[in-house]
């Protein structure tokens, strides 16, 4: 077993005016190290100028997504050993503008999250004094999976439609919309459907399915969008018929 492994890290320094270039770093190949640990080693001991985001190092904060050997990956859950003998190519998440090094611009994603109205919409709010809304374990299970998204944006990096068409609402945001639609406490189905049944919403999805493959939390945005389409199509025919009958 070799004791070192090479990282090829894409560096982009806007102030230098140049295009991104790969820089090589040799790091210890340790069995308990993930790619993120290797980057931290570089930052602490080799090159303090390397920029990237990270925080929890246990796959729940969603900060450290990068392209590792071309695949969208949470670097805190990617052991160096699994890439041995290397080299390991580390690049910023695809399909997002790069601010610097491995840091991508995320405000487009944040806007899209907000666009799908990810909050409980009700015609009438029940006063707190009347206690909780009832929700059986089965009703919870209906949407639970879609509530597990950590907003790591890997699915956007895996989605060619988003890469080609940045206007596309995208997997995580659509799955989040579904999370609320399927919650029995929510009544915002129609409102969200109006927002999302435009050309850049659910109908842009061509069901590549890679969003669900790369999701580190098993959210299955592709499935969420498919179900959304089915509901959207049903709605469309319903509204056609009701309009005709009026």
């Amino acid at each position: 077993m070799p004791t070192n492994i090479t990282l090829e890290v894409l560096r982009y320094m806007p102030e230098d005016g140049g295009a991104p270039v790969f820089q090589e770093y040799e790091v210890p190949l340790r069995s308990d190290w993930v790619v993120l640990d290797a980057l931290n080693h570089v930052k602490d001991h080799i090159d303090g100028t390397l920029s990237y985001r990270w925080s929890c190092r246990m796959g729940v904060c969603g900060s450290c997504g990068m392209m590792v050997n071309g695949e969208p990956t949470l670097t805190c859950a990617a052991f160096l050993e699994s890439f041995a003998p290397g080299p390991i190519r580390v690049e910023p998440l695809a399909h997002f503008p790069v601010i610097r090094d491995l840091v991508v611009e995320g405000s487009d994603f944040m806007t899209k999250l907000k666009d799908v109205k990810p909050w409980v919409i009700r015609k009438e709010e029940k006063p707190l004094s009347e206690g909780e809304y009832r929700q059986t374990p089965e009703e919870l299970a209906d949407f639970k999976q879609y509530s597990m998204c950590i907003n790591c944006m890997l699915c956007y990096s895996a989605c060619p439609v988003y890469g080609l068409e940045p206007g596309f609402t995208g997997p995580a945001a659509l799955a989040l919309a579904q999370r609320y639609n399927l919650d029995n406490r929510d009544q915002g189905n129609e409102e969200r459907m109006e927002l999302l049944s435009n050309d850049e919403g659910i109908w842009s999805c061509t069901m590549v399915g890679e969003c669900s493959e790369v999701c580190p939390k098993g959210v299955d945005p592709a499935g969420a969008i498919q179900r959304y389409k089915l509901a959207g199509a049903a709605d469309w025919w319903k509204s056609l018929i009701t309009r005709k009958s009026k």
Binding site: E15, R30, D32, V34, K43, D44, H45, D47, G48, T49, S51, Y52, R53, W54, S55, C56, R57, M58, G59, V60, C61, G62, S63, C76, A77, F79, E81, I99, R100, D101, V103, G106, S107, M110, L113, P118, W119, V120, E125, K126, L128, G131, E132, Y133, R134, Q135, T136, P137, E139, L140, F143, K144, S147, M148, C149, I150, N151, L176, D183, R185
Partner: protein
């Protein structure tokens, strides 16, 4: 990204975690006309609230009572908390938790659709609400998503606050770096709420995320606000040594064994019962967290721990439970070990050691989240109200950030309504800060950030760890003092304005050193043992002299000035901490 022209707000919230978001919503609910800014060095949903697993306590079931919750909290805290604050806390907790339910938090449920509760350490009655084993994650995302619907809440994501602006005797805003561009701007406000979380990263082994550097504590400390009860730091006995990932108590209650280097269940040597084949409540591996952590140190002193890449550790062995039990009862433990530490607990023993989990102390606030500095409020782990006293009870912290986040929001509105415009000296302060940061970024120093950080962490573990003595604390105090001087000469090789994480790491290091200083000196001066603060040279609790809060005030170029503040006792006079029957 918020882009107001003048960056002036009524209420400014520093920190976008659970407490900060709850505060922001509370401000909106109290007065929708308020202009609100949430400044956070990470996107809000990256905040460390996200990592909390177990649950959040609030009385909801008919067999429970507010007094029981209050008593559990107070006795758990070794009578160091303010009982008026605890009463307010337990009173408001159920409504806050219900509010979160109405906002869509996916709480786990009973068959009839009501919210389910589970038992938790130190709580006599089941009252911990939970959302499977990702309670903090779901609470944070619910708060964040709910906050998105309120347009007056403007967010400054990835803005790093470097200074509080104080003029005319009140806090009037902050200076912050926009990470993406490097520009340094003042964000002015009539009220400022600090909710930046704890400072676990001061220590080498912690469950805390990389971002938890006590930023807000230091900002307040530098602005003259005292840090309260900083000596009280909570350890969890079973964390993974390298990553600090928490291995839940459930692994022990299912029958896991703690073994020293000889494969011996060493807890039997520390009055924690005798080894049985089946787990026995309050015995051996199911003893209290602090006792287990203390036993580890004793084993280490006897040379019976293992030593690895990351220092001393012992083994948690769950292999005998078998793959089936592990997969059905402890799936998350296995997932964490396999995915993030490359260990399969079905086949291998898990290396564990006590790790820092939570800081009970923090920015001194009153029951309304107000600090002694007018216009400055604080909530969450950054603050010390105090309801956690000398030892926080598991599942109180998530509820705390709701109750006191909301209180901070309301207080901030009330204060903001009374204020006029910004003070005269503010713009001069801003210029000074811009120049300071510019100098810092232009480098020239020689000290390595990672090197100083490691020295600080090692010193803290040695001097202010699970057991403390006068001597260990004094030597750490001296070392921290030296580090304070050396951090001024830190080397920054990155001169870029764009997303300069080396610059922010250097500032974070200086924040952590402030926290370290406050912890050490608060601990030196508390010559008793209480809750998480264990002095081997003063092993007993001393209510006569120390039933009082420590307040550390920053002093220029020297150790902090210590003052004390009475503990509020309403209905529960100090007693002995008793958990169940004592085992023979």
């Amino acid at each position: 990204m918020a882009q107001a022209e003048s960056l002036e707000y009524d209420v400014l919230i520093v920190g976008g975690g659970g407490a900060g978001l709850r505060a922001a919503i509370a401000v909106y609910e109290t007065d929708p006309k308020m202009r609100i800014a949430v400044v956070s060095k990470v996107y809000p949903m990256r905040s460390h609230t996200v990592s909390a697993e177990g649950g959040a306590a609030a009385v909801i079931k008919p067999d429970d009572s507010l007094d029981d919750h209050a008593y559990d909290t107070i006795s758990g805290a070794d009578w160091m908390c303010d009982q008026d604050a605890v009463e307010a806390f337990v009173n408001e907790a159920p409504e806050e938790m219900l509010q979160l339910e109405h906002w869509g938090c996916p709480w786990s449920r009973e068959e009839d659709g009501s919210v389910a509760v589970r038992s938790f350490g130190g709580m006599k009655i089941k009252r911990t609400w939970f959302a499977s084993d990702k309670t903090g994650f779901h609470m944070l995302h619910t708060l964040f998503q709910t906050s998105l619907q309120y347009d007056p809440i403007e967010r400054y994501d990835e803005w790093f606050v470097t200074k509080l602006l104080v003029d005319d005797g009140r806090c009037q805003g902050v200076v912050a770096i926009e990470m993406a561009t490097g520009r340094v701007e003042p964000i002015l406000a009539k009220s400022v709420i600090i909710s930046t979380g704890g400072c676990g990263k001061i220590f080498p082994f912690t469950t805390n995320a990389n971002i938890k550097n006590g930023d807000g504590m230091s900002l307040a400390y530098r602005a003259g606000v005292p840090l309260k009860d900083m000596e009280f730091i909570q350890y969890h006995p079973t964390g993974l040594p390298f990553t600090g990932i928490l291995i839940t108590e459930a692994s022990r209650s299912e029958g896991g064994h703690l073994l020293n280097k000889d494969g011996y269940r060493y807890l039997q040597d520390y009055d924690l019962g005798t080894p049985e084949a089946e787990p026995v409540l309050r015995s051996m591996e199911l003893g209290p967290r602090d006792r287990l952590s203390q036993a580890f140190i004793k084993e280490q002193e006897k040379g019976r721990t293992l030593v690895g890449e990351y220092g001393h550790y012992v083994h948690l062995d769950i292999r005998h439970l078998g793959e089936k039990v592990i997969n059905s009862r402890l799936p998350f433990v296995r997932e964490l070990c396999v995915k993030y530490e490359n260990i399969d607990p079905v086949k291998e023993m898990i290396p564990v050691r006590p790790v820092i989990h939570y800081v009970m102390g923090g920015i001194h606030t009153d029951i309304d989240a107000a600090t002694p500095l007018p216009g400055l409020f604080s909530a969450g782990e950054a603050a010390c109200v105090s309801i956690n006293g000398a030892n926080r009870l598991g599942s109180n912290s998530l509820t705390e950030l709701l109750v006191f986040g909301a209180r901070a929001g309301k207080s901030a509105v009330a204060f903001a309504r009374e204020q006029g415009g910004a003070g005269a000296s503010v713009s001069a302060q801003v210029r000074d800060e811009q120049e300071r940061l510019s100098r810092l970024r232009s480098g020239g120093g020689s000290e390595s950030i990672a090197g100083l950080r490691k020295e600080m962490q090692d010193t803290m573990e040695e001097g202010a760890g699970i057991y403390r003595t006068e001597a260990s604390l004094a030597s750490s105090a001296e070392k921290i003092q030296q580090l304070q001087e050396r951090v001024a000469k830190v080397a920054i090789s990155d001169s870029s304005l764009t997303f300069n994480t080396e610059l922010t790491a250097a500032i974070e290091l200086s924040y952590m050193l402030d926290g370290a200083e406050a912890i050490i000196h608060s601990a030196i001066n508390r010559t008793e043992s209480r809750g998480s603060h264990q002095r081997t040279d003063h092993p007993d609790r001393d209510d006569e002299n120390f039933l009082k809060h420590s307040l550390a005030y920053r002093e220029q170029g020297g150790p902090p000035r210590m003052e004390y503040h009475p503990v509020v006792i309403t209905r529960w006079p100090p007693g002995e901490r008793v958990y169940g029957q004592k085992k023979g």
